[in-house]
């Protein structure tokens, strides 16, 4: 459906996207996940023909965004970041305007608008000026605008920014619902959002794709990698020096001593291993006392932070 090959984009001297390639299959909801400034919006702007790539190709259903951009634009419904709208127009007029601007004219298309209004829950605010609407409603008008021509592809850039938790859940449900019959690309820096709505996740950082797969796949590729937090007392120096050498321990993330001379350690375990038993035995042999021992599985959030974080 959408195929991106070796896409590179420079803004002046700044590299925004660095040789990115990926495919989006028809009928999937794909999440672009990444911290702010990772290159999500730039990628999306190239797919929607707003920007031109420095090099590389983007094909949308065999139409090149450079040479065949009209065909591409017709197929895409786009909600840019922050849902930019004309604040002095009312909702119905705006939706009709956007539909007409897409070259769809005539009365039979009123039905499409009705359907979109119903789907996006805009029935109560039809004749209000967009400027008077709350952020949640504006976001929905933005979404409605992207749907007036019944596009095959829907591209949503941070659709839930600035919404309250109830509105976020509404929009997510709507996206899931739309995902049943449309190809959707969803940009976000919010993990639970992507986890909740997307079948597939692309994690982008500093212009590169650093992970690609279903949420479950991403988790399993890190499976077994977990964290162990523990607290011990007595003979701490030798305990601390021996613990990195235990089988199954990858590294010590942090350790610190409390005022009561207790030692708190956080270690990361190697893939597919569980060194709790070794830790217990080490304590026994070393004459230390183990006060706490707890193991945690890696969450998608950990993966995200690991892949995109600069520290650690």
């Amino acid at each position: 459906m959408i195929s991106v090959r070796n896409l590179t984009k420079y803004y002046g001297m700044t590299l925004a996207i660095d040789n990115v390639s990926f495919e989006v299959e028809k009928g999937t909801v794909t999440g672009f996940l990444g911290p702010n400034g990772a290159g999500k919006t730039t990628t999306v702007r190239i797919i929607t023909c707003y920007l031109t790539p420095t090099s590389g190709t983007v094909m949308v259903e065999n139409h090149d965004v450079l040479t065949d951009s009209f065909e591409v634009r017709k197929k895409i419904g786009y909600l840019p970041e922050n849902a930019p709208l004309y604040l002095d127009m009312n909702v119905v007029d705006y939706l009709k305007f956007m539909q007409n601007m897409r070259g769809i004219m005539g009365t039979s298309n009123g039905n499409r608008i009705k359907l979109v209004i119903e789907r996006c829950g805009l029935g109560d605010v039809l004749h209000k000026n967009i400027g008077e609407l709350s952020k949640g409603y504006r976001q929905r008008v933005g979404l409605a605008q992207a749907l007036v021509h019944d596009p095959e592809i829907l591209i949503l850039d941070e659709p839930t920014v600035g919404l309250d938790p109830n509105q976020i859940i509404e929009i997510r449900n709507l996206i899931r619902e739309l995902g049943k019959d449309k190809t959707i690309i969803l940009c976000s820096h919010i993990l639970p959002e992507v986890e909740a709505t997307c079948k597939r996740v692309l994690i982008i950082n500093e212009g590169k794709i650093v992970a690609d797969g279903t949420p479950a796949e991403l988790q399993s590729s890190f499976e077994g990698r977990g964290r162990i937090t523990l607290q011990a007392k007595n003979n701490l120096d030798s305990f601390l020096s021996k613990i990195p050498n235990l089988p199954g321990v990858d590294r010590v993330i942090q350790s610190h001593r409390t005022a009561e001379n207790l030692l708190n350690i956080e270690v990361e375990t190697a893939k597919g291993s569980d060194p709790r038993e070794h830790i217990f035995n080490l304590c026994k042999d070393n004459g230390s006392v183990l006060l706490e021992l707890k193991r945690e599985e890696t969450s998608l959030e950990d993966i995200f932070r690991k892949l995109t974080g600069k520290e650690e």
Binding site: Y11, G12, R45, T48, C49, Y50, L51, T52, F70, R73, K74, I76, Y78, P80, E81, N82, P84, L85, Y86, L87, D88, M89, F97, M98, N100, M101, R102, G103, M105, Q145
Partner: protein
Amino acid sequence: MHQVLTLAKKEFRSYFDSPIAYVVITLFLLIAGWQFSTSLFLNNTPDLRNIFGIVRFILLFFVPALSMRLISEEKRLGTIELLMTLPIKDWQLVLGKFLSAYMLIIVTIFLTLIHYITISILGEPDFGATFAGYLGLVLIVGVYLSIGIFTSSLSQNQIVAFILSFGIVFVFFMLDKIIFFFPGFLANILEYLSIDYHFNNIARGVIDSRDLIYYLSVIIFFLFLTVQTLESRKWK
């Protein structure tokens, strides 16, 4: 083409959603009416020549005031991103916006025809001169407006757009008034570039293709620059 008209219609309507159209039209008619009545009652000259004089001058401010928001507002709101990802060519956007403001100003200018009616009741107005005068005004507005829409595409700040377009328009307006300071060959070039020189030709009743070509080419030149400015975003 119907997208161009859809856009023009929407822009035209949005002038009336804000006070700007009402303020501009009212002020414009007040000033034109005041000029007309002074020449009629004080100087006893029932013609529209005075109106054409003052209108050319006040349009220097009014056209930039109407054109300043055309593109800069879209940039400020971010709606330009939606507009430019629609299946429409950039020149169609520019043309739609240009036509909306052009319509508004032409309607405003033709509202002064009421003075022509007054004159035709009082005496025998020169129809040819009036027609030529209005044609000249319509062409001048086109030039001012194409400059206005170009500067509007340069900035997301309306005030910047206004001042820039006023500056450029003013230079064009002043050209034939400062040619005495330049040597002959330069003076000829400046005179040719001057808006007023061509207006005076037309207002004399001589509708020459050279003058029409001048106006049309300046309009197209600035509209072309506007399209180029919009497209340059892609390569930045």
